[in-house]
């Protein structure tokens, strides 16, 4: 397995990068951390003629936390997401998801923008972004635009990015006062992509009722999916064990996974329920509700 031949260019500015992408069209690929693109090239599944290395472009690797909202630059490495204290304070769910990505070598190179643009249905960054209703900032020849995450992911390894567009940042919404999150994933082997993953974000009112509910499941469809049916069951309810069980059951009914060499569709569906239930339990506990207590970090089964 050797890399097929390609041209390598390292622009110094975003405009230069965009111009190169326009010039080469489909033949060009953006190289950031290279943790997904290079393996695809090694396997012959991607054969770009030109690699546009964006690592030298200044300003894309910043974490900006003003007040509660957070803006994570596209070139921020997963390891930085894992360790940056401001990011952890502002968006602990993303910080907790980071250590679930690959291994420490992958996290030191892999980037937030790369993970979004690659759009693997079982990856952690797209999962959390989906659950949070985040916004992806992109730049192209026509200038900058914001894409809500639910419009950004279009299918298996497919996004709304135009041919000459580059992800520049992930913007995460401000966290409400009584909001809690939960993460759970099932992996066959440490560091692998999840068989099934779940991220739940719940907001409670003063009476402990659910005012906001977002449940995203990864690994069961072409991209991380919001579980609208389950969310509807939660809104306005006191999130006790019964309610969470019902919501998790709804997740099981809502997903339509496929079988592969690692797990059958039936098992994935059953595990979507289990992971959703675990994520919901942790979210309620963190939001100050009643369900089973959540420790720090993700529920890693």
């Amino acid at each position: 397995m050797y890399l097929p031949p390609f041209r390598y260019v390292a622009p110094r500015t975003l405009d230069e990068a965009i111009a190169l992408l326009r010039e080469h069209g489909d033949d060009a690929k953006v190289l950031a951390g290279g943790q997904s693109l290079l393996p695809l090239m090694m396997l012959g599944l991607a054969r770009p003629g030109v690699l546009v290395d964006v690592n030298g472009i200044p300003g894309l690797d910043r974490i900006e936390a003003d007040g509660d909202a957070v803006r994570v630059g596209a070139l921020v490495r997963h390891r930085a997401v894992e360790t940056d204290p401001r990011l952890r304070a502002a968006c602990p769910v993303l910080a907790d998801a980071a250590p679930l990505i690959g291994n420490i070598r992958v996290r030191h190179r892999g980037t937030v923008g790369g993970s979004l643009a690659h759009a693997d249905p079982a990856a952690e960054v797209p999962l959390v972004a989906t659950a949070l209703g985040a916004t992806v900032e992109v730049r192209g020849a026509g200038g900058a635009r914001d894409i809500p995450v639910h419009e950004f992911f279009r299918g298996y390894l497919e996004t709304a990015l135009g041919p000459a567009e580059v992800v520049t940042a992930l913007r995460l919404p401000a966290r409400g006062p009584r909001m809690g999150y939960g993460l759970a994933e099932l992996v066959r082997r440490s560091g692998d992509f999840a068989t099934v993953s779940a991220c739940a974000v719940l907001g409670l009112d003063g009476g402990g009722r659910c005012t906001h509910a977002a449940v995203a499941i990864g690994g069961v469809g072409p991209s991380a999916l919001r579980m609208r049916g389950a969310e509807r069951l939660l809104i306005g309810q006191l999130p006790g064990d019964r309610t969470l069980d019902d919501a998790a059951d709804a997740v099981r009914a809502e997903v339509a996974p496929e079988s592969d060499v690692h797990a059958s569709a039936d098992y994935r569906r059953a595990m979507a329920r289990v992971m959703a239930r675990r994520a919901l339990g942790a979210a309620v506990a963190r939001a100050g509700g009643e369900s089973r207590a959540a420790g720090p970090g993700a529920v890693r089964s």
């Binding site: 050797y2 396997l43 066959r188 082997r189 440490s190 060499v261 059953a270 595990m271 089964s301």
Partner: protein
């Protein structure tokens, strides 16, 4: 009680070198990345060799046209089956006169598994070699093929080879009368167990370079466990045997996967055809796709025991999926047959062990060689019988353990001390206090499993190994032995053995291994035979050399031969520290007197005829290594996931020549077995391999494994040097059954099929509702 070591002239306390965890001479280079592995070899004008492999598991080749490929720039040669003097060597893969078979080097008209080599190319660059492969025109007529071993074994099944039964080997073992045994049994347990195909997954994939030397000798320097393949290579090329030389440099692992030839015939043919050096390195995808795997076994067991737990009868039917060619399957199945009952006394035994042709990826040798799969079944049967009788798992084993002198099912006696009671106790104790479940859906369970694994080849192969030792004028020592070093320290062990006898410090010993032209042949490094065979050869050679020079040293020192001590590069007189001479001085005196200071010796293993083919009664393996493993797991009952919390692996190695190497073998072997127990599987769908990447062939990584406690017992009773037993293969077997037992203990559901995936455990737990399955 561990007995005192048998008398070998030295008591353990007197060993100066043997038994010490000395750093191996080969390790520093490996750590620095300086070792020249097979793929690292560079030669001027070297070509790149590549293989065109079949994309279908079963197809007729309607047309194969290489003209366009041959015409491409940079392409030196393209060869098909028709271009080789002989496309294979007829062999008897049973070694007992039961079968003749020629396994093709390149497919001729038919492909029988996905990835089978169809054509080979040599080109100036990798890019032009790949272009040549793409330019070869093959027109296949895909055929359905035979992919289910059990269906293939039925009468009237579609045949893999025209005119041959799919079942190509059937070993039988008959002892006593199983019906009598079952009639008297208080408990009878019957189950079917299935183990999966797994890959060797060595660090170093298959690789080698071949060239035609100035004297016309075709030399193949390849990652191989068997330099004696030079003979088969010569046959294929139509050359005299002495015109082919095989060199095995240090290997990055073999595990049986480099026991059959890998790149050797291809690089040899390409170098022979072009007259230029040719290098071939297989990618991991090629290795996972097409290299022979560990056999998938289906094992039906029926076990009967008396009320007190004594085993009365064992009836076993074993079927192995061999793929389309016999390779080493007959021998793998024979090893499985012999240890089918495990390390227990069973008076009535009936075993049928068969291998069947299919159009799946071939299976052949892999660490544990058939014996290890059986552990999964016979140890589960012990637990189930214990459960049926209300006995603890340890108690039923203790009641039935073999003891030295007891008859094995083959009718031969267990020839050396069997330390199983001590091994069992040590392994269980090593787990310490029971862990508490980490959450509300978690259950903790424990399991044990014992095994016996042969070391050395079956005695009818009349095994033999040679070694050459020579003292240099400066008192340093040279060892020459045709031993391929797979990374297990095979070469360093020889140095440690020779150092013990001759008193040369290990730093002053140079070991030359693995060259069929320059080192005396020692047989391949497989069957856990190299320490046993070549260790004995080196020991004998060292003792004979010492006997040769001792009179000279005695004369120099004016002492009696019996009082001489060989140590610290000197010969001295016991009890008189100031009376000594350097070995260099002794060598000089030998030269003056015409006494030889070098020697070639051979160790001849036991020789015997094959056992009775209708009953399996007779002499089989030289001896066995016994072990017991213990594990603690946590199972998440909601997801079916199994996490290994603690693991202890305990073996009686007779005598540890280098305890650090022994611990390494035990830890690595256990990790390999754990991988097979919990995650690894070469998954095929109608013969098409779905697992040709490490992304979907799930080997455990460091974070997946707990610290594996290697516990070494030294009974002093083994047939190797200083009473050593082999330890290469034995540790791979017990993990399968140990982990299955721990999962059963945690969940109440006994895994009967490997690997124990979360989904399988989940399904078993879901399906248990209402049913009562024994543990």
């Amino acid at each position: 009680m561990i007995p005192e070591p048998r008398a070998d002239g030295l008591s353990p306390a007197a060993y100066r070198v043997v038994g010490r965890a000395l750093p191996r001479f080969d390790v520093a280079d490996k750590v620095r990345g300086a070792t020249q592995y097979a793929a690292d070899w560079q030669m001027p004008g070297m070509l790149v060799g590549r293989i065109l492999r079949s994309i279908y598991p079963c197809a007729r080749i309607r047309r194969l046209d290489v003209a366009r490929a041959r015409a491409l720039p940079g392409v030196a040669v393209v060869l098909t089956a028709r271009d080789l003097p002989r496309s294979g060597v007829e062999e008897d893969p049973t070694g007992a006169g039961l079968l003749r078979f020629t396994t093709p080097i390149l497919a001729d008209g038919v492909v029988r598994y996905q990835g089978e080599p169809v054509a080979i190319v040599a080109a100036a660059s990798d890019a032009s070699a790949r272009a040549a492969l793409a330019a070869i025109e093959v027109e296949y007529e895909p055929l359905p093929g035979v992919h289910d071993a059990e269906a293939a074994a039925r009468r009237g099944a579609e045949r893999v080879h025209e005119g041959r039964d799919n079942v190509f080997v059937h070993w039988k073992l008959r002892r006593g009368d199983v019906e009598t045994g079952f009639r008297g049994a208080a408990a009878v347990v019957e189950r079917t167990y299935r183990t999966q195909r797994v890959d060797h997954a060595y660090l170093e994939p298959e690789a080698g370079v071949a060239w035609v030397d100035a004297d016309g000798v075709i030399t193949v320097r390849a990652s191989s466990q068997v330099i004696e393949h030079f003979r088969a290579l010569a046959e294929i090329l139509g050359l005299p045997h002495n015109r082919v030389r095989v060199i095995a440099p240090f290997l990055g692992g073999g595990f049986g996967g480099k026991e059959d030839m890998t790149v050797e015939p291809y690089v040899a043919a390409l170098a022979w055809a072009t007259g230029r050096p040719v290098r071939m390195v297989w990618g991991r995808d090629e290795s996972l796709l097409a290299r022979p795997k560990r056999h998938a076994f289906v094992m039906r067991y029926k076990t009967g025991a008396a009320r007190d737990g004594s085993l009365l009868a064992q009836e076993i039917s074993l079927l192995a999926d061999a793929g389309p060619y016999p390779l080493l399957s007959p021998r793998v199945l024979f090893a499985a047959l012999v240890v089918g009952c495990g390390p227990y006394r069973v008076p009535h035994v009936r075993i049928d062990a068969r291998a069947v042709f299919t159009n799946n990826v071939p299976a052949s040798a892999m660490r544990g060689f058939g014996a290890m799969q059986m552990t999964f079944a016979y140890e589960a049967q012990m637990d189930l019988i214990a459960h049926a009788l209300g006995m603890p798992p340890a108690a039923i084993r203790e009641r039935n353990f073999l003891r030295k002198g007891d008859r094995l099912p083959t009718g031969e006696a267990a020839g050396t001390y069997v330390a199983l009671p001590e091994l069992l106790r040590r392994a269980q104790d090593a787990l310490g206090e029971r862990s508490r479940p980490s959450g509300p859906t978690a259950r903790v369970g424990r399991g044990i499993a014992c095994n016996m694994q042969p070391y050395g080849r079956t005695v009818w192969f009349q095994d033999r190994a040679s070694a050459w030792l020579g003292l240099e004028a400066d008192g340093s020592l040279v060892i020459r032995a045709g031993v391929p070093d797979l990374g297990g320290g095979q070469a360093a062990s020889l140095a440690q053995i020779a150092a013990e006898v001759l008193g040369v410090s290990v730093e002053r010993i140079r070991v030359h291994v693995g060259d069929s032209a320059l080192t005396p042949l020692a047989g391949g490094t497989f069957a856990t035979r190299q320490l046993y065979m070549s260790g004995n050869a080196a020991l004998r050679c060292a003792r004979e050399l010492r006997a040769e020079i001792a009179p000279v040293a005695a004369a120099l020192l004016e002492a009696a031969e019996a009082d001489l001590e060989f140590a610290d590069d000197h010969v001295g007189v016991a009890g008189a520290p100031d009376r000594r001479v350097s070995l260099a001085r002794v060598v000089a005196e030998c030269s003056r007197r015409g006494v030889p200071v070098s020697r070639l010796s051979a160790f001849q293993g036991e020789r015997s005829a094959p056992p009775d083919l209708d009953t399996g009664q007779g002499r089989t393996f030289p001896d066995y290594t016994y072990g017991c493993h213990a594990a603690e797991v946590e199972v998440d009952t909601e997801t079916g996931e199994t996490r290994l919390l603690k693991y202890a692996a305990c073996h009686d190695v007779g005598r540890a020549i280098n305890p650090q190497s022994v611990a390494g073998q035990i830890q690595g072997g256990a990790a390999m077995g754990i991988g097979q127990a919990l995650g690894e599987e070469i998954a095929l769908e109608a013969g098409v391999n779905l697992t040709t990447l490490f992304a979907n062939y799930l080997m455990p990584t460091a974070p997946d494994l707990p610290d594996i406690q290697a516990i070494v017992l030294e009974s002093g009773e083994g047939r190797g040097p200083f009473g050593a037993r082999g330890i290469g293969e034995p540790p791979t077997g017990p993990p399968l059954a140990t982990i299955a037992a721990a999962v059963a203990d945690a969940t109440g559901v006994r895994p009967l099929e490997l690997p124990i995936t979360p989904e399988r455990v989940f399904r078993a737990l879901a399906g248990r509702a209402g049913t009562k399955e024994g543990r």
